[in-house]
Structures are given as structure tokens and as C-alpha cells.
Amino acid sequence: MSSNHGNGLHGERDYVVELQSVSRHYGESIAVADVSLGMARGELVCLLGPSGCGKTTTLRMVAGFVKPTSGTVRINNQDMTHQPPYRRDTGMVFQSYALFPHMTVAENIAFGLENLKWNRVDREKRVREMLRLVELPHLAERLPTQLSGGQQQRIALARALAMRPAVLLLDEPFSNLDAQLRVRMREELREVIRGVDVTTLFVTHDQEEALTMSDRIVVMNTGRIEQIGTPGDIYESPESTFVAKFIGWCSVVEGAVDATGTFVSKSALKVPGNWQPGPANAIVRPEHVHLAADGPQGLVREARVLESHYYGGATRVVLDVGGEQLMMHERFPFGRHPKPGEPLNITLNTDEIRVVSSSSQTFTDLKRVAI
């Protein structure tokens, strides 16, 4: 649990957005507990977690729609904790886009600029600029109801960015789009954000979105930060079973780390290393498991197929390896897919397997194959 998420606790570094031990309680229930986070200029940070983990509340505290019960919100090195939303230098894209239905696209984009007291000439110039940025200059005079979902999203983005906010806030920006459009819009959005080089905080429950878009990911659970790190860090070196299970496929093997620092499971699965002694779990990703014939060097083990799911191309196989359930993604030649009950020889790439201490875990269902 103790990780690098305490960085910048005292504001000594130059952060665009900085949360210092921010908490939000609703009566007895705690939505956000002691969240600290600093965002560097130009950084794209993602708040990732299951629904109800406090990620949206955290975002809304940055925007000013929710006041923290305790802690400090700083934007551009200024204490904004008690400032109303309209005095904060943020631009937000809402989950429902929240385009004003009684204003045209151009009027929507100009709205923030009017409130910032820009003159008309500058406003019109900026609106045209933003429409070009999102590649919809021909829609300026349309009403929001006449736009498709993807167009609405781009206009919402243009509206938020027009003010040149210090930080762009995105609240589940893709959840209202269908699956195909979602992937395309993700790439487009990423390109636009990179192009204008704006510091961005976005909220999602979709791990793929988080992994592909962010510089850093903040994984949240039950109001707390579980881990902060680059997408690579989060996937390759999860610091808790929760993070491992939430991101990507994995199997969790229960066991303990002995005095020499080697992890040993109940079924004598060994992961050598310099792990912290005590009860621990090994996180085995499907790509750590290979067929004995083509795998890297390692101990060959006998396994038995429990389940086999064909995904077109690869097959996901759930294996029983000496009493542990492990998962494997493998391409099998046509007509040679393993059937339940069939024996297979596998190797484990133990160098890549990560071991996390389980003493601080509250989960009890670790034996199960995750996700």
C-alpha cells in the first residue's frame, strides 16, 4: 500500500493540480479517503477503478462541484479548496457532454469565453480555431440535438479547451459511445490533447482506455489510492492483488515468502527472488505460462486442462497445475484445441511473476481464478 503516491505532499514541486490528503465524507460513508496526487504540466493522468471507488468524486473536487471534507485542492499552486467552480481554471467534458440545448455549437463554445470577458473578435476567432481542431468547422450553426454522439463529444471537448484551462477534466468521456466509435474517439482525443499539450485528468472504469491513453494511472478502490504508476508499472508490477486483478487477466496463487526471499505456494510452486517474507500471493499472468515445447527455459510441469475457451486466433485455457488454477493464452494449430481433462506440459516464466504481500489484503477469495 505504501507507494509513491505521496509524492509532492508539500507542494515543493511545480504541479498544475495538486491534491493534498483530500477526503470527502457523506455522513457516515466515506467517498474519498486521504487522496494525495500531483500532476505535472502536460501530464495525462487517469483515475481508474470500479464504480463507487471515489474517482468521479475526486474529479468533481478538482472542478469544484464537491467540497472536500478535509484536505487541500491546489490548481496552479493556488489554494482553490474553497473557491466556487467558476473561479477555477479547469475545463470539463461531462459524461453526458452537457451541451446547452438552446445554443448552437458555436454559442456553446463561445459561452466560456464570454464569461472570461473575451471580446467578440477574439471569441469568434477562437471558436473557429477550436472547430478546426476537432475537425467540425461545418457544424458551427447546428444545435446539439442535431449532432451524433461522437460529434457531441468533440464539441464538448472544444468547448472545454477553448478557455485554455490549466487542466482538462474528462468524466468517463467514452461511456456514451458504442464500442467501435469508442476506440476511434479515444485515439482522436489522445491526439488532440497531445496537440494542445494540456494537463489532463480523466476518469474511467475501463482498463484498456487507461492503459492506452495515460502517462500515469491512479488505481482507486473504496475511496483510497491503491497504486500510482505508469501503465507499464501498473500492469507489470502491481503492488496489490486488487490492482493485479483489476487490470488484465491473472491468476492469484496463495502462499508465503520464506526467509530466503523465495515465494512458495501450498502446491510447491516456487518464485525465486528477494521478496518480503510473510504471507504473500503470486500474480501469474497468462503470458507467464507457456507450452513446454516453445516456452523459455524453465521447469517443465504437468498440467491438466480444466476449461478451454476459443477466442478466434488464441484460446484461453484454464489449467490445473498441481492443485493451482492458472490461465494461459495460446495459439493452437487448427483442430488441436485442448479439451477439458486433457494433460499438457507447461513451463512457467518465474522471472516475470510478481509476488505481493497478502497480509494487508482483506480479500478472501484469492484462490479463485480472477476476472
Partner: protein, 266 residues
């Protein structure tokens, strides 16, 4: 087989009941309009022929035209005031949390619970005591009290249907609370506000049960004029005046229907 039989009986009974209900609801108004075009001098049915003479007589009748003017005048002022007072209250109820909110909402709707006779004589007594029965004030105040629940209810409904995220978006775009109300909230609930004002108008324009106690001073409204006239005798002149009221009311209903949809009138 038994199921089919009971289903069919229910279907048929339902169709008959509905036909009777809609006919019954529309019949009085339809007949008033038909009789107003009679060429005869009595209310006998069916009318002997078609003429517009009773409309002409209605527009020439001084008491009725004076009453029509009084009714319109009162209704316009009442709908204007009721909208302002009712909107302020509905906005506070919708947006602020304060102790005794339920009680306050109850108060706003209480004019619906007090029988018209009770309110009417109560106001008459009060204004007699204040020596103000000779003015227009009793009518205005009485109708204002009656209109408040309708306005509060309509505005509350619009406010609760109104998407609050749009206001957050406006605030994020640096609009101050006052600008948010002026540029986002008000334009978006405008249909609801107009309907509320129109509701207040019809409530005032058609009221007779309270007005009848408040027209002592000679400021007689059209429904009260009709009531005293019909109480004594009735002839096609009443039908013509009543038809004018029906046309005004119908125009108003269609306007609201156009603004917010008829279902939400309820």
C-alpha cells in the same frame, strides 16, 4: 375459454365506459357552443336555425363586456404576480435545503385543500374589516392565493426535470450563479414558466366559487356575472358569453399543450 370470455367482457365494458366518459366530459361545452348560434329566443333543443345575433347582443351588453374586461384585467395581473411569487418559492424549495421544507411545501399547496366557500367568506370578512371591499384588491388577492399552488407545482416540475449538469457545465465555463440562472436555467425552463403563468390565468379567469364572495364592490368578473344571470333566468345570450369563455379556455389549453405537452398539465 373462461379466460377469453372474461377478457372480452372487460374489453367491451372498458370501451363503453370510455365512450360514455369522453362524451360526458365534452358534451356540456359542445352544447353551449351549438346553442349560442341559435336563431331562436329560447334555449329549446334542437335550435331552430343558425344566427350570430346572440354574439352581437353579447358584445353590445354592457354588464357582460365590463365583466369580461374585469376578468381579463384581474387574470393578467394575477398570472404575472403568481409567476414571480411562485417561481421564487419553487426555486427555493428545489435548490435550498432548510428545516421545515415539507411544511412549507404543504403551505404552498394548502389553497387546494381549503373549501372555496371557507376561503371566500374568510376573505370577505377580512376585507370588510379592512374596509377594502369596494376595491379590486379582494379579487386580486383571492385569485393570487388560488393560483399559487398551480404555479409552484408547474415550476417545481420543470425544475426537477431540468438537467442540473448543464448548470455545472456553465459554472465550469466560468459563469457566475447569477449568469447561470439567466443564461441556462431560465431559458431552459421557459416553457414551464409560461405554462405556469397561463395556469394562473385560467384559474383566475374561470373562478366563480371564491369570486362570488369578493365582488361586493361592483367589480364583477365574467363567471360571477354569468352565475347571477343564470341564477335568475337563462337565454341564448348566456350561451354566447359562455362560448366566448370556452374559446378563450380552449385556446389557452392548446397553447400549454404546445408548450409542455398535455400530459404534464395534470
Amino acid at each position: 375459454m373462461r379466460d377469453d370470455f372474461s377478457d372480452n367482457v372487460m374489453k367491451m365494458a372498458g370501451a363503453v365506459v370510455r365512450a360514455v366518459v369522453y362524451t360526458m366530459l365534452a358534451l356540456p361545452a359542445v352544447l353551449v357552443i351549438i346553442s349560442s348560434f341559435t336563431s331562436g329566443t329560447s334555449m329549446n333543443f334542437p335550435p331552430p336555425g343558425f344566427s350570430l345575433q346572440w354574439y352581437q347582443r353579447a358584445f353590445e351588453s354592457e354588464p357582460f363586456m365590463k365583466a369580461l374586461w374585469t376578468s381579463t384585467y384581474v387574470a393578467v395581473i394575477v398570472s404575472f404576480l403568481a409567476l414571480i411569487i411562485g417561481f421564487a418559492a419553487a426555486f427555493a424549495i428545489n435548490r435550498f435545503s432548510f428545516p421545515g421544507k415539507g411544511l412549507l411545501q404543504g403551505l404552498a399547496f394548502s389553497p387546494l385543500v381549503v373549501p372555496a366557500v371557507v376561503l371566500g367568506i374568510g376573505l370577505l370578512y377580512l376585507f370588510a374589516w379592512m374596509h377594502l371591499t369596494q376595491t379590486m384588491l379582494p379579487l386580486l388577492v383571492g385569485h393570487l392565493v388560488l393560483a399559487i399552488p398551480y404555479v409552484v407545482r408547474t415550476v417545481l416540475a420543470s425544475l426537477s426535470l431540468h438537467n442540473r449538469v448543464l448548470e455545472e457545465a456553465a459554472m465550469n465555463l466560468r459563469a457566475t450563479p447569477f449568469q447561470v440562472i439567466r443564461r441556462i436555467t431560465l431559458p431552459l425552463i421557459l416553457p414551464g414558466l409560461l405554462s405556469a403563468a397561463i395556469f394562473a390565468f385560467v384559474t383566475s379567469f374561470g373562478n366563480v366559487t371564491v369570486s362570488v364572495f369578493l365582488t361586493y364592490g361592483g367589480n364583477v368578473t365574467l363567471p360571477v356575472q354569468l352565475f347571477t344571470y343564470v341564477d335568475a333566468s337563462y337565454d341564448p345570450l348566456v350561451a354566447a358569453v359562455s362560448s366566448i369563455m370556452i374559446f378563450v379556455t380552449l385556446a389557452v389549453i392548446l397553447t400549454i399543450e404546445h408548450l409542455i405537452g398535455a400530459e404534464r398539465l395534470a
